[in-house]
């Protein structure tokens, strides 16, 4: 899978993101790094922030499209 469908899912979940990036770490289309900085994550623990990302990407996680996911999240002022 290319990074574009994942980016679109994250954009829907975090429409106010100030930083949003999806990187294919290995070029194989199944190991991804996502970075999300969004005001909607402010005040949440890292566990809760990552849960929001997992929720946004639940379909490609469940069907095995994403084999490995690295997540970097931040709240924004």
């Amino acid at each position: 899978m290319s990074t574009q469908p994942l980016r679109e899912l994250l954009e829907q979940a975090f429409p106010d993101a100030t930083e949003l990036d999806v990187v294919d770490r290995t070029g194989g289309g199944d190991h991804f790094q996502v970075i999300v900085t969004s005001p909607s994550l402010s005040g949440l623990s890292l566990v809760e922030q990552h849960r929001r990302v997992y929720e946004a990407l639940s379909a490609p996680l469940a069907d095995g499209t994403i084999h490995e996911l690295r997540i970097k999240t931040k709240g924004a002022a």
Binding site: V47, H50, R51, Y54, L61, A62, R70, I71, K72
Partner: protein, 119 residues
């Protein structure tokens, strides 16, 4: 005893529980290794559980924790996160703070590493 009961027992009964792919002696996944190494650097007394012997272990763990991926780290029964979070907390010093707050000042004295088999 079902996997769910055993999993809950490990989570509730361990100072630091690490659900991983493989064991500390033979790690089968890069992310499990990242979490293990961060916990070791922080001096955490780790109880490790290999989820690979039966896919049902992983399914039941995720149903309990609400966390979809492996590894998963718990301190005193509370989910701390996966490899990314544990590494981030280790790097900024919060992991040690959490361990000290929940396990006591001398938590690193034992440096125990235990492996529990659920099957």
């Amino acid at each position: 005893m079902s996997y769910s009961e055993k999993i809950k027992e490990v989570i509730g009964g361990s100072e630091v529980a690490l659900f991983m792919k493989g064991t500390p002696a033979f790690v089968m996944c890069g992310n499990s290794d990242r979490a293990l190494q961060a916990l070791r650097r922080a001096g955490a007394p780790v109880t490790a559980v290999d989820v690979l012997p039966d896919p049902a272990i992983r399914q039941e763990l995720s149903a309990i924790s609400g966390w979809p991926t492996i590894p998963q780290v718990f301190v005193k029964g509370e989910l701390v996160g996966g490899a990314d979070i544990v590494e981030e907390l280790e790097a900024n010093g919060e992991l040690e703070q959490t361990l000290r707050a929940k396990l006591g000042e001398d938590y690193a004295a034992s440096r125990d590493e235990t492996t529990v088999a659920l099957t």
